[in-house]
Subunit: 251 residues, 2 copies
């Protein structure tokens, strides 16, 4: 599995992805899922991937080295596309191209070759945009009403995003929120694991602002994880007992 | 969808289930998923159901009105089975019988007739047991290491169980924890909704101790939900910002 998320704010964007990949619990390895396509001062595009590793690596190669999309006259990379909308289109087309080539699993084998992506960023003179590309190659966009998108194991990390993320949130708090969301997922799903890659983009800078990789021994990550766990437990203990509980009968 | 859980403790057991059923978002209705089979002073068996409503209702009917299991010589109900292990066997057999009868969806229709159950309780002179019956009719049992079982939409409500539930937990705290787990699920999945049924069983009493149904207007449920939401937000705000965040650069 995988967990990646992108947060779309007035001040900029925050991207986060784990690095665990597995083909069964007996074949666990580490692969980066956060990919940066950057021409500093001109464009910053961040791509996050989930799903079949063979598929996602092939798609990333096409997007880096050049690929002729369905509507394109020449080969194109994420360094060339004129708009973020074209970036999302290109990711979808690269994905369709790869999955069409692989097709179905050979007879008697059970394999899922599908993949999904988040692609967000900004190109000079244009606004920031954040898209989620589905396995069919179609895509949706984050908006004010839903200012974050997730791929992979999305459920464990969603409650904190729902409670905290609004378009007005500052970038530092959003990065902290992304980390808590990651930590909740890592704790509940063995197939999502550190190191965790984080990228913070400040609007209209056209370059990756801050990139951080947090291992499980990272002091800040450990502190957030411990403080959140302890705080949750204390919060639970402070909730009043139900008026109809066994304790109430004795009172 | 559905969310039901059973918690197995030294002092007794806590069961909780939501009541929302849907066949698409345009066909939402209310059905009890917590079923009590009780002969006070002799046995208390609680059954919780998730999955296809046609299937679960048929299974409950068989378990109430009598059904001849694969290894039984005569018809049997959950009021007759001599042990909790036999109760789990009977639930599994009733489920297999119903799904065998329905079989697959008619040609051209896409329907899932599967269902899962939790069945827990105690019969005079025997120990408490809690089982999860899978859609295939096989089952597993809660133990000290994993003192709770869930069916339906399990992910949103799992983190609080993982952090709080141990076999030594008192029944009142376990009921509170079940409610927080339910609230987290209700907030994140529209297809899980109140009223919420809760049953508390005290060990060696052989009768349902406390049963409560909480509507969304229940003052205690509202208070827990509000206090938990506010506390989480405050806990998040109190977490220190990342040392590598944009704020750190300006400092």
């Amino acid at each position: 599995m995988t967990y990646c998320l992108g947060i779309y704010l007035e001040d900029g964007m925050v991207f986060a992805g784990d690095t665990r990949t597995n083909a069964g619990v007996d074949a666990v390895s580490k692969f980066r899922k956060l990919h940066l396509f950057e021409t500093p001062g001109e464009r910053m595009i961040c791509l996050l991937s989930a799903g079949n590793l063979g598929t996602t690596q092939s798609v990333v190669t096409l997007l880096e080295e050049g690929f002729r999309g369905e509507a394109e006259e020449a080969e194109c990379t994420l360094y060339d596309v004129p708009t973020m909308y074209d970036a999302a289109l290109l990711v979808g087309q690269a994905l369709r191209s790869v999955t069409a080539r692989i097709g179905h699993a050979p007879e008697g084998q059970d394999a899922d070759f599908s993949a999904t992506f988040l692609v967000g960023g900004q190109i000079t003179g244009r606004r920031m945009r954040l898209f989620q590309v589905y396995s069919a190659g179609n895509f949706i966009e984050a908006t004010e009403d839903t200012p974050y998108l997730q791929i992979g194991e999305t459920k464990y990390g969603k409650p904190i995003l729902e409670r905290v993320v609004t378009p007005e949130l500052d970038l530092t708090s959003a990065a902290k929120c992304a980390l808590v969301s990651m930590d909740s997922t890592v704790r509940s799903n063995l197939s999502v694991g550190p190191p965790i890659d984080i990228l913070i983009y400040e609007r209209d800078t056209y370059k990756a602002g801050i990139t951080a990789r947090m291992t499980e021994n990272d002091p800040y990550y450990q502190m957030i994880s411990r403080q959140w766990a302890g705080g949750l437990r204390q919060l639970f203990d402070e909730l009043p007992p139900p008026p109809w509980g066994p304790g109430a009968k004795q009172g």
